[in-house]
Symmetry: C2
Subunit: 338 residues, 2 copies
Amino acid sequence: MPVRKASVSAKDVAARAGVSRAAVSRTFTPGASVSEETRSKVIAAAEALGYQVNHLARGLISQKTGIVAVVGADLATPYRSELLRALTERLQAVGRVAILINTDRSDRSVDMALQQAIRYRAEAAIVLSGMPDKSISDLCHRNGLRLVLINRDDAHSRSIQIRLNDADAARLALTSFLRAGCRTLAVATSNAGTPSLVAREEGFLAEAHRRGLSVTCERFGPTGYESGLALGERLLVLPDRPDAIFCTTDLIACGVMDAARHRFSLSIPDDLSVIGFDDIPQSSWDSYQLTTFRQPIGEIASSAVDWLAEDEGDGETRVIRLAAPMSWRKSVRGSNAR
Amino acid sequence: MPVRKASVSAKDVAARAGVSRAAVSRTFTPGASVSEETRSKVIAAAEALGYQVNHLARGLISQKTGIVAVVGADLATPYRSELLRALTERLQAVGRVAILINTDRSDRSVDMALQQAIRYRAEAAIVLSGMPDKSISDLCHRNGLRLVLINRDDAHSRSIQIRLNDADAARLALTSFLRAGCRTLAVATSNAGTPSLVAREEGFLAEAHRRGLSVTCERFGPTGYESGLALGERLLVLPDRPDAIFCTTDLIACGVMDAARHRFSLSIPDDLSVIGFDDIPQSSWDSYQLTTFRQPIGEIASSAVDWLAEDEGDGETRVIRLAAPMSWRKSVRGSNAR
DNA sequence: AAGAACATTGCACACGTGTGCAAAATAAAT
DNA sequence: ATTTATTTTGCACACGTGTGCAATGTTCTT
């Protein structure tokens, strides 16, 4: 029961060009042998008919679809949308096409997303959030689907895991506060408990502990601006009000800054220094000028795509650690001189 | 030359379950006839082997792939990323999978993107930016690919075009300024010249003209925050400095507001009223509290997806016009009482 | 019990493509 | 001119699936 118009096939082009169907196929297969005379006849016929190779059929026979699944939740947040943009651009540059699977709906969605990726015989999947169950990861391997895990905790066998040096950044945040003369330190983070947020929080706390400093740590809600407002309100009413707050994401930082200014009439950075993480576009806006750590989005995208685009590796697990360089703006005391 | 592990096929499942390959197929085809005994044998075998139906093969034989292409540039801007999130969610809810094609690289990319969509035999394409050439639009039709054009100027035959009432919103922006007592009006927009921006600008100017009012219109750069800063700087140094600026997007408005406050020390809305368009998340942040028009993203997404998910229509062109309701915040004089 | 109606099953074909291989054609070497 | 080497071509098969159809099995009606 075909419900659609039949597309032009290689058979139609062959008839029009007066050659065999195999000659048509060879004309559109890189590296295949075809004479210039046949080639131009086929190209002319294909253009006249509007022929486009059917990649479903090609994928079926060649076992290479060119499809890469990108799997994630919260796709509209500044960091994730920018990463998605960079990934699609890079994938297209190496001849791949991205299937986007939104996992907003549940944690189990990563497993379901990967099963969907297998149904379309995706060559690889890039997981931006959530973590696949081991049985699904094995299923991916059995189906030749390669896994890229971005900012996930566990490495799965035969996959690549791209992590940031969150702890290094957190340490640098702490030392930057100390150098700026801040003494009452706090961490503001969400209840999401995702690997990156945990690493940043723990890195900050561990470095403070190593230096014999006490830090107030406040967690609240999902990882967004509204939680930042609430976290600012909770931290800034403390009797021992912090003069420095490390926020585990920039969205939280923007909320903290707005709470400080608009609800507590504090001046940043005179009364309160703030450091975030991500370097989203809004961090550079005049209303924020937030000092933060820049997500190396270009490097994440190229690391991910270069790995999956190379020939089948030897199956070992790889972990890539990238630095998140500091972006100095005006939210830390004494940072104007940088 | 297969370069990947052969996935489990229906043939493998049939052998394990002791039934025919057709029984396996029928078990995984909704509405097909299969006994409960056979079904449970097949299901058990499929689960043991990790079988996932090959949708490439299914698409080839059934001429229905479930694939919908989403085509657009500037995917990381707040409005577009939110629309993308809503579209993927809605597409998944009706059993479709989204192929995301990024057209940042050139105008001709929409044509190339649609050709790529045809190669994967996508059932439909949702175009978020750019406009396909007529010959490509025809090619889509010939291949049974249905077109959804969002905020594009021209309707193509046998497609659906979803537009906002930009001009109505612009008129309401003007009357809101007048009601707030503003007298020196300006429009701030980009050089992008996209259909929505032009409609908003022209709607504002036409209504002003109808009322015998003069408006300064300034255009600059791409459609982003930085252009808003620059536009604010250009408009606010005028000898006849505007006391009301209609910005054709919220990103531009945030830039204008930051320029007014941080570079001209103006108070909003006392010295300057600002209205934007889109209602991006940042518009509700304490630092902005921008009065704006809300993009009906949920309705756009459901209009688009409901149309393409329904059975083949009669081929007529449809235009859907949606209202962009006003979101009152604090950037217009006298708007606190709302 | 027999006949009619309905459900289930396996076979074989088709969807559109890439490719191994033998045959044919062309180019290069002697 | 003949032989050898290389290129090109068409045929037929395979990839994995859904389905028309004939054959078989089961249920319902008389």
